[in-house]
């Protein structure tokens, strides 16, 4: 039961005020009237505070605030009677005295008239405080969610640039530089283009196929420098597809998979064929390799591709299709198609 100082002070103050007012209508000494009002006031406060917490569970049709209001109304007459009984020092019981009964009636009525309103005021103030607390909690939760989203994005960004890829590539470039090779500059440019494009990718909600193709080209040039004897690639794209919208990393995911899971594990390597074409109102992307082929698995081929499927479904409201087919004698053909949406230049 909460009987903070503030409440007690408030009750005392209000009781005193009413006591003074009531004593104007009575012949009894002011301090006695005040005492009587005080007793009622304290009883009301106790009732209010008690029913604030007890009983812990209420039937659904009963609001706690209603219970509190009823309680204080119910407690006023008996507490007033008690107040009178306490403060009447005559031989006669107070209720036999007309004047006193009148006073009792006035006290009870005043109580019943004003106490509920004061209680309502207190309840409203409480509700206000609760709402403000909830708003604050909501704000905290939201910033927590924002923070988590930011962290997830960060992790995604970090995951985009694979350390193995980066350091291997840099090692290769360093050898070219040391050897004074004329290719060093070109390859470095390709790497820079790839990094520049790959890093901010996830922030954008969509990119154009034209940019995706350039990104894939930069990536393949870098990989070809590293394994010139094992990687060949051909890019055939419809120029009209340059400003078609698609989620970032759409093409690159397929190309990376083809290299990582198709070509790299193969001792002899292979060739990657990339085709982008438009038919009717749909855009088609095909990435085909003649590497080691499909394997059932639980590994990252699944994760990158699964994420891509989800992003495609989200971006095109379920109108996108993804499929992975085996190629004879060995290799994989990954195909994506989705409706054409053009990005404003």
């Amino acid at each position: 039961m909460k009987l903070g100082w503030r409440r007690v002070r408030f009750t005392l103050a209000v009781s005193v005020v009413f006591g003074v007012l009531l004593s104007l209508t009575s012949q009894t000494a002011t301090f006695i009237v005040i005492t009587r009002v005080l007793i009622v006031g304290v009883a009301v406060l106790l009732a209010f505070a008690l029913f604030e917490r007890w009983p812990k569970r209420l039937p659904r049709w009963l609001a706690r605030s209603a219970l509190q209001l009823v309680a204080i109304a119910v407690v006023i007459p008996p507490s007033a009677a008690f107040a009178y009984a306490l403060t009447t020092t005559n031989d006669e019981p107070w209720y036999k005295d007309r004047g006193r009964v009148g006073g009792f009636a006035r006290l009870t009525l005043t109580g019943l008239l004003f106490a509920p309103w004061i209680a309502v005021g207190a309840l409203l103030k409480q509700r206000d405080a609760v709402m403000r607390e909830q708003a604050l909690e909501l704000q905290l939760t939201r910033s927590e969610i924002e923070r988590q989203a930011l962290e997830a994005e960060l992790r995604l960004l970090q995951a985009q640039i694979e350390p193995h890829f980066l350091f291997n590539t840099l090692a290769n470039i360093q050898t070219l530089v040391d050897a004074g090779s004329p290719h060093a500059s070109r390859v470095l440019n390709s790497l820079i283009a790839y990094l520049r494009a790959a890093v901010p990718r996830m922030h954008q909600r969509s990119t154009t196929l034209g940019q995706e193709v350039e990104l894939a080209r930069a990536y393949l040039e870098v990989m070809q420098m590293r394994m010139p004897d094992r990687l060949k690639f051909v890019l055939r794209t419809d120029p009209r597809a340059a400003n078609v919208s698609c989620p970032p990393m759409t093409l690159l995911t397929l190309v990376e998979n083809a290299v990582r899971h198709g070509i790299d594990p193969s001792e002899v390597g292979g060739c990657i064929d990339i085709d982008v074409w438009l038919r009717d109102d749909r855009c088609h992307i095909r990435v085909q390799d003649d590497g080691v082929g499909l394997r059932s698995g639980s590994h990252s081929l699944g994760t990158g591709l699964a994420a891509l499927r989800e992003r495609l479904q989200l971006a095109f409201a379920g109108a996108a299709q993804t499929q992975l087919l085996e190629v004879r004698p060995h290799g994989v053909c990954a195909e994506i198609e989705f409706p054409i949406q053009r990005q404003a230049q």
């Binding site: 193995h164 090692a171 059932s296 087919l325």
Partner: protein
């Protein structure tokens, strides 16, 4: 007699670069061969029997670790790795030699002096079977979930990868399993997987796939409802499909808790 070595790396630029750097750091060392992958590395080792082998860890086909296991202690091994991540802390015991790409001349010089000491003292190679086994375990890619996410299945004449999420139920057919799934356009389709239902049962996430019969596994998210049948068995109905699946007596208790 000059010491000999074999360099193995799938990236030709890096092989040449290491050879050039070794010419400076260890002029007496003779590079007898360069291997493009693990298989070649083993072949060339058997042919030339060098004292030292530089092995790239990540190579197609047979990895540097597998090559090390084959060579054993017959040569001194130096592992070369692109990224010094936590798994590579296996090397930090200091017993196994390693180099990080891009190779720094100072680090190469350290490794070279260690090797020369051991060779001149006619000490055996430090790469015991145990150490290499430990290394192999540490470098194995950690998978967040070992349950299957993709399955290779035949659809008519073509073979495709089907996302396990899209599978609604599986039914055994002799040594193979018929898989009922939905494509991106929500069309119900069927495919054949070259694995027995028993194998699949052990590889599918049991939180999502439940075996309801000796020959049937169902994806819980595809279940519409289950009704009791005679002989304490039950019948399972799927969302959006006309097939009904039998639930054997043995498996009925799974649904009692639901």
């Amino acid at each position: 007699m000059n010491p000999t070595a074999v360099i193995a790396d799938d990236e030709p630029l890096l092989r040449d670069a290491l050879e050039r750097m070794l010419a400076v750091a260890w002029p007496a060392l003779r590079i007898v061969a360069q291997a493009r992958n693990g298989r070649e590395a083993i072949e060339l080792f058997e042919r030339h029997a060098p004292q030292v082998c530089f092995l790239d860890v990540h190579m197609p086909g047979t990895s540097g670790i597998e090559v090390a296991q084959r060579i054993g202690r017959r040569a001194h091994l130096v592992f070369v790795t692109a990224y010094h991540d936590y798994a590579v802390q296996a090397f930090d015991h200091g017993v196994l030699d390693y180099l990080v790409k891009p190779v720094q001349p100072e680090r190469l010089a350290d490794t070279v002096s260690r090797l020369r000491e051991r060779i001149e003292a006619a000490q055996p190679a430090s790469n015991t079977e145990l150490l290499i086994q430990q290394l192999a375990t540490k470098l194995r890619q950690p998978t967040s979930s070992s349950w299957l996410r993709w399955i290779r299945a035949s659809v008519g004449q073509t073979v495709r990868l089907i996302a396990v999420d899209d599978i609604e139920f599986l039914r055994s057919e002799d040594k193979y399993t018929r898989v009922a799934w939905r494509d991106d356009m929500k069309q119900p389709l069927e495919a054949l997987v070259r694995m027995t239902i028993k194998e699949l049962a052990s590889k599918l996430d049991p939180e999502r796939f439940v075996q309801i019969h000796r020959s049937v596994i169902v994806n819980l998210s595809a279940v519409s409802h289950v009704t009791r049948s005679e002989n304490e068995t039950a019948t399972l109905y799927l969302k959006g499909r006309s097939e009904v699946l039998p639930v054997s007596r043995h498996h009925v208790q799974l649904f009692r808790q639901m």
